[in-house]
Symmetry: C2
Subunit: 415 residues, 2 copies
């Protein structure tokens, strides 16, 4: 049997009008790739009976499996059920089990059930109901002229559960796919994408020849520059072993200065862990980032045992009164060093970082993009300056991850 | 002539694999709708010659206009040019003007031009080059059996400029569309989506009958709950007049307690404007939001004339030492009121806001979702409490917009 292919059809006029970006198809596409299933087409079609039928017939004609997403809700606009029945040439019949299940869900919520909801209990004669049903919309499965068509609701969490737990295992079984594909993401900071590509060029070339894994790069702003390793094998343990050996090779080439996580952790998670392991508390003084550094750190659950707080000193007198910064130009080495010491003192923190700079759009004391950063570890203050060629938002984001990375390297080396 | 339709074809294997979400097609779909052009299908296809040709032929068969997006770059994977030539049944020829233009762009950057880039100067015989060319990839336009096909690069800013300035005016002219469609977004906070729908039900029903505009709702988290008015007319002034009258009707129904912007401004922009008009400076004390409030405010360019700073006091001793909060439970009315007064003092701010609460995932002193908020205007402190039924990130976001809205209402009423 040759490779099997599956295509995705997304139903909904709102998708064509751009009111909703179709992230469902992208997610399904990624899952199909990881499941080892080829995918050649994805189609969006509006809530129109004839066009839905045409698209379904075409998809069944050229692919072995079709996943239809959306149009399974209770309203008159939800046409997917009806169109599948027409393509199959059968009637819709009420499924008694479904009627009971849907009624029970509404009963459990103590709400009267709108009669429309019973539309969701209609099933094309001969189609099956997917066993996974997280919401009130059942998923469907129908075999049509030897091809298999699956229908899932457009609500992302319902769709994802059905695809992961029911549809993908079914496709893999029918298509006789036993191999699995997994990825491992290594996060880096401090080297450009082309710089990483250059340093890994020989290894990428070797992999192209020998083929046990692939390497891809993904620039992700404040999340760092990701190196994604992908490998295929017959079992979880086999793939894990390939990915781990490959990660070791990449690590030996790039080194731990650049790699901050092998487990797809954020820089903030890494910093919190390093501080927690060393029993150190952390304080921040921010000017141009305006609270972004504190906000990122505190988005990590459980940060409060390490993180004392951040002094967002956006004005000169706040810098003076709260941080004890003398009356000097606010974007300067002297200012940022006074800020980091002030943060340690005011927040009773063991280690601290501080940033000040000009994010634009127009220059004030200094040129747009000029940033000073400082860290204090063991009472020793260090500072450095960068001139970013970016817009306001990226200046703030790149400053955040850069100063956190500076602190990370000092924590590893000095504590 | 009946209504003309245009469909979008996005080319790129990375789209099928879910490595990139196809936001280009969504954006083009939205622009087509605003231009009054119907759109019935959108297709994604990988970098495969036969499948690209099939999809192009089908699109030309069923729509009057086709916009192909992606696959116009300089590499061997970029097949769109070649496949258009094959569908047209013509050869690719080097366009001398393009060769010069592309060479000049690289000359201006003082970089040697990779010879691959000259692939981009190849044009199917009989096709035109779009006059708008913001990058190094030219857009193409070809008339094929009475239908018009446009090809644009997948780089969003290049694509958008070509579609807006060249393709849409061309489609509108060819299709004889003179009417225009515009939207106006009113932002609200303090009422649920179903609450808004209920209050506007009569007006929505009237519009359904009389049809001069439509109303749609869009829940946008920390950006507020948006009410989008859309209208069609023959000129900018006609549509503006319809939208403005409709906005007045919506305003008279919802009122300014709920509506915070008629111009699609963020809550932060509104607060900064209110303070600036009144010559007031603003200070913040944050606990559970961890810097998010300061970060949002300072993401607005020019915020530094109003915003003094934020004290992110994530630990009890930081609350005490910087804000002068006594040694009391940190999620309490007394604590939040001491925080807001402390922020005014420490930051020398005229008005201030403060938040403290439990964002979870597990409860500490109080239940997860319990939040206290306070504002200080003219030295008068007010506070209130909310229990959110959300996850950590939404608790932080909803707290941010809610406390800013409380301050907005006080600034309007009391100053």
């Amino acid at each position: 049997m040759g490779r099997s292919s599956c295509e995705v059809v997304a139903v909904g006029t709102e998708l064509l009008l751009g009111q909703i970006v179709d992230t469902n198809s992208s997610w399904i596409g990624e899952q199909l790739a990881l499941a080892g299933v080829d995918s050649y087409y994805q189609t969006k079609v509006g809530d129109n009976p004839d066009r839905i039928k045409k698209v379904l017939r075409q998809a069944l004609g050229r692919s072995d499996f079709v996943i239809v997403c959306g149009g399974l809700g209770p309203t008159q606009d939800d046409l997917t059920r009806d169109m599948i029945a027409e393509v199959m040439g059968v009637d819709l019949v009420a499924d008694e089990g479904l009627v009971e299940r849907i009624s029970a869900i509404f009963g459990g919520r103590n709400r009267p059930m709108p009669s429309n909801n019973l539309r969701q209990a209609q099933v094309p004669l001969g189609a099956e109901i997917l066993s996974v049903m997280p919401g009130t919309a059942p998923g469907l499965k129908a075999v049509i002229e030897g091809k298999t068509l699956y229908a899932v609701p457009g609500v992302p969490w319902e769709m994802k559960q059905m695809v992961s737990e029911d549809i993908l295992p079914d496709i893999r079984m029918k298509a006789g796919i036993s191999s699995i594909i997994r990825s491992k993401t290594i996060r880096t900071w401090g080297e450009s994408e082309s710089g990483l590509a250059e340093r890994l060029a020989d290894e990428i070339e070797r992999l192209d020849r020998e083929g046990e894994a692939t390497i891809a790069f993904l620039a992700s702003g404040i999340e760092g520059l990701k190196v994604r390793l992908t490998a295929k094998g017959d079992s979880d343990s086999e793939v894990a072993s390939i990915l781990n050996s490959e990660a070791e090779i990449v690590a030996s080439i790039l080194g731990d200065e650049i790699i901050f996580s092998y487990e797809d952790q954020t820089m903030e998670e890494v910093i919190l862990e390093l501080c927690r392991d060393r029993n150190l508390t952390l304080g921040v003084a921010e000017s141009l980032t305006g609270g972004l550094i504190g906000s990122r750190i505190t988005s990590v659950p459980g940060s409060s045992d390490v993180f004392k707080g951040s002094i967002v000193a956006y004005s000169g007198d706040a810098k003076q009164s709260v941080l004890g910064v003398p009356d000097i130009p606010s974007v300067s080495q002297e200012a940022v060093e006074a800020m980091v010491s002030g943060a340690c003192q005011a927040l009773h923190a063991d280690v601290a970082l501080a940033v000040t700079g000009e994010a634009g759009p127009s220059p004030n004391e200094v040129e747009v993009g000029r940033v000073w950063m400082a860290t204090s570890v063991g009472g020793v203050v260090q500072s450095h300056s960068v001139k970013w060629p970016f817009d306001r938002e990226r200046i703030r984001q790149f400053t955040t991850i850069t100063v956190l990375n500076t602190l990370r390297l000092r924590l590893i080396k000095e504590t």
